[in-house]
Amino acid sequence: MRIQVSCFATLSRYAPTDGFLEIKEGATPIDVIDQLSIPREEVKIVFVNGQNSGKEIELQEDDRVGIFPAIGGG
């Protein structure tokens, strides 16, 4: 199934080129992070459809996933 993935700030280089990713049934944000070869320790928070749902929720077709590193500039 297909989901939409946005990777922000330093993680943007891991984003799929067209913004979409094919994942297996039952995949979670952790699987997405691994599939995109993002070092797990660099991910601080993941939003699924705009909700802070944790990294272990089962993803559904057409879900929007946003992945963020530590950010603290001002």
Binding site: F8, K44, I71, G72, G73, G74
Partner: protein, 279 residues
């Protein structure tokens, strides 16, 4: 009711406005009257507002801000921590809007690498204290504001004292490390905090009520771990995030509901993303 000589003079020097529920007075008249009656500029402004006389400098806030809103802003006290990128713009907006009292803290001095984004950083202020530059700027743009400056880097033990009689804390820090401390102490003091943080072209804003949900997970790690160390801090991101923080500050100080409690406002200029995320 008999007015004090100062109020009588205020009324005499103000002019009525058609279609407005108040009269107005020029800043220069208000300053002159304050001086002649031995009243501070800060107090003169409050008295004018309470007597339905709006300093003309706020005329174009109306009616996005009502006279009552201006009274609330003039009587508000905020603690603004960080006078670099975010803090400079936040101070500019809040002082022009009419917030009355600022407690400002930053131990840093301007260096050349600040000039790409920090509005208080100029060729004249290089090497000088950021909060001292802030005080000079504040007096130039709005002499009716009061400010107290703390030109040193805060530690946890400084915070309870600085938060006395404060209505709102604005987190305009750089780096991830001190943000959780400021958040915890604001929460302990029962004061809402409005935080902004960014890296490169990505920026975020959130409001945290005492005990409420926070974006603290973004700040896990040390200062060296923040994405801003790699991506830098762009002026467009800094000024937009500061504007959202200032807008949220004005909302809360005028008694309106926060749009960002338990949420994060997200902007990303690279992908032109504008979003509200639920924490």
């Amino acid at each position: 009711m008999k007015h004090s000589p100062f109020i009588t003079a205020l009324k005499k020097n103000s002019r009525a406005l058609q279609h407005h529920p108040f009269s107005c007075i020029s800043s220069s008249s208000l300053i002159q009257l304050a001086s002649a009656h031995n009243v501070t500029c800060f107090q003169a402004q409050l008295s004018a507002l309470q007597n339905k006389i709006l300093p003309e400098r706020y005329l174009r806030n109306f009616n996005a801000l009502t006279l009552n809103d201006q009274i609330r802003l003039a009587g508000s006290r905020i603690l603004l921590v960080g006078l670099g990128g975010l803090g400079g713009y936040i101070l500019e907006i809040l002082a022009r809007s009419g917030v009355g009292t600022f407690v400002l803290a930053d131990g840093d001095c301007f260096e050349e690498s600040n000039l790409n984004r920090q509005i208080l950083g100029t060729v004249d202020t290089l090497g000088k204290s950021k909060v001292k530059a802030a005080k000079v700027r504040l007096k130039k743009i709005n002499p009716f504001c009061r400010c107290q400056i703390h030109p040193y880097f805060l530690s946890r033990k400084d915070l309870p004292g600085l938060m006395k009689n404060i209505d709102l804390v604005v987190d305009a820090l750089g780096g991830v490390e001190f943000r959780p401390v400021l958040l915890e102490e604001s929460s302990r003091a029962g004061i809402p905090l409005i935080t902004g943080f960014l890296a490169g072209t990505t920026g975020l804003v959130s409001t945290v009520y005492p005990g409420g949900k926070s974006p603290g997970v973004f700040w896990r790690g040390e200062n060296k771990d923040g994405a801003e160390n790699i991506l830098g801090n762009m002026a467009q991101t800094v000024s937009l995030i500061a504007s959202v923080q200032a807008a949220e500050t004005i909302k809360l100080l005028t008694g309106k509901d926060s749009g960002l409690a338990g949420r994060v406002f997200l902007v990303d200029f690279e992908t032109l993303t504008f979003d509200l995320l639920e924490l």
